[in-house]
Subunit: 312 residues, 2 copies
């Protein structure tokens, strides 16, 4: 079993490749729920859904999130009822949130509900929220504290990020079976996700970081930063305003002690000695996932890295 | 102000006419919530919605319920998630239920929520649930006790009805302002709705029946039964299996003491003496609402009946 730590779109694209180069049922995905939110009273898990929709072949290939060819009749009607509609929820997507909210209302766990959604949509990999407890990423900005989706979607990640807090993380517990999956894993993969707000919340759940530090298998990370810029999203700006080094090396520093092999773009070859100094083995390749071929190539490289490192 | 007691489709059609022959803001509609239900954890008020959608000009003219040209993408997706989909909820209709459920979750009353929905959809009449308390119509059948929508929609009203119960009615209170509206009304109108399961729950809310009995204004009812048959729905079968007389006279008997003028179809002219014996003045006309003209004609007749009876 490969355990993959995943955020949203970048991770989903990588996992789409990974589940095509290994058996999908051998991939155990740990999803970020720090950016979960409640809209219209519905529980929304954007990162889990992005991963599930992508692996189910339903994802919108343009945005990466949402469902392809989804309609927005419900959202328009909610607008007519005076509701804010900045969070784009399509009709089929809303169905997922209605279902999830109802399951939670009936006392089911988020992990059980997520498993049901994934299974019903035909996903063969395990998709596991990092925790069944409520953890919420709060972004501190000059405009005040913002919940993650307000910062990210409503205000389009334009605020300067001066601090990040994972509310509830200290008291949260890893989802059932998650630590065992890490202990028994053949390999751990940090997907090309934002290390601060996508992987950060996962590592903030007590027990997960320690389990990875004590791993008995190789751990591989793929840098989401190429040539000092984020492939997608606000990672680079955020790293800068938080006083981090905006580069793949900056990402590697965040993962020090957790990762054995660091896959980064060949344009970042000059970072090799610095990566090695952190105790990681750098692996270079073209890491931009333009299409299915590149997704699979990157996934294959990650799997090879796990196998090679194990053979050392 | 005219106070109208209303069920679903038949009432909505009549009210569509009524709000065109008097000022819509002078119509105060008391809606049945005995057939409210929870589906996917969403609070659904079918009769209130049918009235609101109709007065907003959004109703599906074929079924009478739901929204015209609504799409069913969310419902299909809920089906794919393993949910039952026998209750046909369109995407725009779902938006209403999401909104209502969220308002109730935040502690708002059903009456306030209903008013917001009606206002936002452009309805100028007052649409008031009979009660903010939970009342549920339970139908006793040879197959056991069924909640109303299971009996009506899922099992298509095919079960023999041997009893009716309005669960929660005894402890329910009329919605705020409702009794005052009845006391101050210029006229009370019993819409052409099922007297047992549409108007019945309204009259079962303690205080409402008494307020109508003590009315200081004329009260007019329109028979939903013509020539011994229901214009729509299971009223006739239900009256039969409950041991009532299946005719407009049977309806009049249910309303004895509550109604001064009884409008019935001209095909039922032979019932005149019996209606008069119940203390009601019969008024005959073509009561089938085939289209806008007939809706308005029926409404005009009801309004005239109020005025004439007042002038007596």
């Amino acid at each position: 079993m490969l355990v993959a730590l995943a955020g949203g779109v970048g991770a989903a694209r990588f996992l789409d490749g990974l589940t095509k180069v290994v058996k999908p049922e051998e991939v155990y995905i740990v999803g970020n729920t720090g950016d979960d939110t409640e809209i219209y009273g519905l529980h929304i898990s954007p990162d889990l859904d992005t991963v599930i929709y992508t692996l189910a072949g339903l994802a919108n290939p343009v945005h990466g999130w949402g469902i392809q060819n989804d309609t927005f009749e419900g959202l328009k009607a909610l607008g007519a009822l005076g509701q804010e509609t900045w969070f784009q929820l399509g009709d089929r997507d809303l169905a997922t949130h209605i279902f999830r909210t109802n399951c939670l209302l009936k006392g089911e766990t988020l992990s059980a509900t997520t498993a049901t959604i994934a299974r019903n949509l035909g996903v063969q990999s395990t998709v596991m929220p990092m925790s069944n407890d409520r953890v919420r990423t709060i972004v501190r900005t000059p405009a005040g504290k913002l919940d993650f989706q307000t910062y990210f979607v409503r205000r389009q990640a334009k605020d300067e990020v001066v601090g990040i807090k994972f509310q509830g993380a200290a008291k949260s517990r890893p989802a059932p079976g998650l630590l065992r999956a890490i202990r028994n894993a053949e390999g751990i993969i940090f997907c090309p996700s934002n290390p601060i707000i996508s992987v950060g919340p996962i590592l903030a759940v007590p027990g997960i970081r320690t389990a990875i530090e004590r791993r008995k298998c190789p751990s591989v990370a793929i840098s989401p930063i190429i040539g000092g810029r984020a492939v997608k999203g606000p990672a680079a700006n955020m790293m800068e305003t938080l006083g981090m080094e905006v580069s793949a090396l900056g990402v590697a520093k965040i993962y020090q002690g957790l990762v054995d092999v660091f896959i980064l773009d060949e344009t970042d070859k000059d970072l090799a000695p610095a990566i090695q100094k952190l105790g990681m083995q750098p692996v270079f390749m073209d890491t931009i996932m333009r299409g299915p071929a590149e997704k699979k190539a990157l996934a294959r490289k990650a799997v090879q890295a796990v196998r090679k490192y194990r053979a050392l």
